[in-house]
């Protein structure tokens, strides 16, 4: 026997916590048919019966025309689930009941869960659940999302209700053609229901001392930036052990696999696939997943505590100029650390178009890897103060790129009429539920790992074929042949075949840039090893510097640095964007834009610099 239920509730009603605790690891993330909205499904077993749980997309109501609202309404109407569990935040009961008022019109079996009962109690608020149940005609369950006993009660209730379902007996709020009158009718319906069930004391709101500081225009912004920087460091600390393990894979596997396969007389081509490429794919994917894990823990914490909402409040004005809204600030700051982190941090945004736009804008932010290679390369050609100027130039162009990206893509992704300006609640500060945060971060990381493995393998094979040469000499690789063949074209963009090759490998992984330069200029390292072993075999930069600065002009170096910085971020970031957005079309579109942008920029920088240098 099986049953199926759906969870319905406004943002901040604790829906995802309940979903995660009900279903545990038995979750599946997909897409709603034909839509870019994420579909979360899971299941749990109670007394031998399996129940599937659908987490309906979060929205404040059901009457708007957003994808989320249409999906939810259609899903409930179609009867795809046997029971809808409606969640409300008891500490903000009146406002939160709006979802029930919307649901009432759909007339389907339901139960009402009064979540955050603990917070409501702390506020001195009393709710008579039995009286409410009597009025509504459906069971009402007081609930505390952190109490495991309450989940048992909920499971039992679900199982009982599937046998003898209840529908609302109170007539739904009268429908009005005019939106204004219609919402009034819903809130009147709520007031009527709550009239003798609870008492809402009208009180003067006093901001906490901490919030008073957090909401100050300048100080608050500085605190936000500081907190996100600390958060990034913490995310790095969390990921480090996992990444360390991942990093050992190529080094550990290379020699034994190489020996074993060579001993079997396997073709060297196949040998290096298994000894070099596959271990590196594993390594890349593990580092990616561990980063997603770290970022999700930190973001989960910032979101649950209510910090994210304050940061969004602070930066809304600035970001709305880019077609985004305040919530995009954290992923953007995160992008200075790692684009992958930034891309998956956009999860906090509820509108798909704006989320995709935010990811495209995050791509423009140079990550920590770029900041680690640019000074090295710049130092080979320029003095320290010129290097400073290069970095400042890059920072300035970050802003320009963001504006261009927003101009190019916002019309499609976030048209002004669909643009949701920020209307959001600043929830009271909560304690974080660590168990839940870690669990959820683990699922997300595991999900990314599983799904990215394929993408990373595919692109790795492609690059592998391009960079393969029988004797390890660069001149015999396909990439060299292609590179020198199209050199007349790349010259126009300011790059010779060597720098162009490094530019291409930078699209694969930014860390590969130095290794590739080493391979093409020194010829003592195969291009393939440079790309796949960049992190384990650092290049001798001093020597490389003297060779490079005599081989290419400073103007070309400058063009190359700009091109590399503003090219597509890296394979892993690309693949994360695709996994997070569920849209191959848009990921490719944005990627093409960035490649063109990098080439045009390189061309401009080269030809201008050429005049002066």
């Amino acid at each position: 026997m099986t049953g199926s239920i759906a969870l319905l509730g406004q943002p901040n009603s604790g829906k995802s916590t309940i979903f995660n605790n009900l279903t545990g690891s038995r979750q599946h993330v997909g897409n709603w048919a034909g839509k870019t909205v994420e579909k979360n499904e899971g299941s749990f077993t109670y007394q031998g019966t399996k129940y599937t749980v659908t987490d309906l997309p979060g929205s404040y109501g059901l009457s708007g025309n957003s994808d989320e609202e249409i999906i939810t309404t259609d899903f409930i109407k179609s009867g795809s689930s046997d029971l809808t569990v409606v969640l409300v935040d008891t500490s903000q009961l009146e406002r939160s009941m709006f979802m029930l008022a919307e649901f009432a019109r759909l007339d389907k079996p339901a139960v009402l869960v009064l979540n955050m009962m603990d917070i409501a109690k702390d506020m001195g608020k009393k709710v008579n659940a039995e009286a409410l149940a009597k009025k509504l005609g459906i069971p009402v369950l007081p609930f505390n999302a952190t109490d495991s006993r309450d989940y048992e009660k909920l499971k039992k209730l679900i199982s009982d209700e599937l046998k003898t379902p209840h529908r609302l007996i109170v007539p739904a709020p009268a429908e009005q053609a005019d939106v204004k009158a219609d919402s009034k009718s819903k809130f009147d319906w709520i007031s009527e229901l709550l009239s003798d069930v609870t008492k809402t004391e009208e009180s003067v709101y006093k901001m906490s001392k901490f919030d008073r500081v957090m909401t100050r225009p300048i100080l608050g912004k500085m605190i936000c930036i500081g907190v996100v920087l600390v958060a990034f460091l913490v995310a790095m600390l969390i990921m480090m052990p996992f990444m360390g393990i991942g990093q050992m894979i190529p080094a550990l596997l290379h020699d034994p696999v190489d020996k074993l396969l060579t001993g079997w007389n396997v073709h060297p081509w196949i040998v290096s696939v298994f000894s070099m490429m596959i271990p590196n794919v594993l390594y890349f994917t593990i580092s990616m997943a561990s980063f997603v894990f770290g970022v999700n823990i930190v973001f989960g914490f910032l979101e649950e505590t209510g910090f994210l909402a304050r940061a969004a409040y602070q930066f809304d004005g600035l970001l709305s100029k880019l077609g985004l809204q305040g919530k995009a600030i954290c992923p953007m700051l995160m992008g200075f650390g790692c684009t992958i982190g930034g891309a998956c941090g956009t999860r906090v945004m509820d509108n798909w178009g704006q989320r995709m736009l935010a990811m495209s804008i995050v791509w423009a932010i140079p990550c920590a890897s770029i900041w680690s290679i640019i000074p090295v390369i710049s130092g080979m050609f320029f003095t320290w103060w010129q290097t400073m100027l290069v970095c400042i130039g890059i920072l300035l162009y970050v802003v320009v790129t963001m504006i261009i990206v927003s101009k190019v893509f916002s019309r499609k992704l976030a048209p002004v009429e669909n643009r949701s300006g920020m209307i959001m609640e600043l929830p009271p500060y909560h304690k974080a539920h660590w168990k839940h945060i870690i669990k959820e971060a683990f699922f997300k990381a595991w999900d990314i790992f599983k799904r990215a493995l394929g993408t990373v393998t595919l692109v790795s094979i492609l690059f592998y074929v391009l960079s393969f040469s029988k004797d390890g000499n660069v001149d015999n690789s396909l990439l060299y042949r292609v590179g020198t063949f199209i050199e007349p074209v790349t010259r126009f963009f300011g790059m010779g075949w060597q720098t162009f090759m490094a530019f291409v490998s930078g699209a694969f992984a930014k860390e590969a840039v130095l290794g590739t330069l080493n391979a093409v200029f020194m010829g003592n390292n195969s291009l393939m090893e440079a790309t796949f072993f960049a992190k384990t075999a650092p290049a001798d930069t001093a020597l490389l510097g003297s060779v490079m600065s005599s081989a290419i002009a400073p103007a070309e170096a400058l063009a190359f640095m700009f091109a590399t910085t503003f090219n597509i971020p890296c394979l892993m970031a690309l693949s994360t964007t695709y996994k997070e957005s569920h849209s191959l079309k848009w990921t490719v579109k944005v990627a093409l834009f960035y490649i063109c942008n990098a080439l045009v920029l390189s061309c401009i920088v080269y030809h201008i610099a050429d005049l002066f240098m």
Binding site: Q10, S59, Y60, G61, S63, G64, N65, S91, Q92, L93, E94, R95, F98, E102, V179, K180, S183, K184, K186, F187, T200, E202, V204, Y205, M207, T215, P217, A309, A312, Y313, Q314, D316, G317, S320, Q325, G326, E417, N418, S420, G421, M422, I423, M424, E425, L426, P427, P428
Partner: protein
């Protein structure tokens, strides 16, 4: 007066909200409807307006807050 013209700690009622259906749906689903008592918590230049209503602290971007008329109580 407009919500954007209120001062911190002012209490009053929402007197009129105007906008297209999309806006009206969003604003009313979060609880801002005509007649709702509110309190302005913070209103700084170039920052979203912070209001407290229906037991909730709500942050509203300025463009949207412009479309909300309120009266002092």
């Amino acid at each position: 007066m407009k919500l954007t013209e209120t001062k911190a700690d002012m209490q009053g009622r929402i007197s009129a909200v105007s906008g297209d259906n999309h806006f009206m749906n969003r604003i009313s689903s979060i609880g801002i409807t005509e007649g709702t008592p509110f309190q302005t918590v913070r209103n700084d230049k170039k920052m979203p307006v912070l209001v407290y209503l229906r037991e909730t602290l709500i942050s509203l971007n300025r463009a949207d807050a412009e479309r909300i008329e309120v009266e002092k109580q």
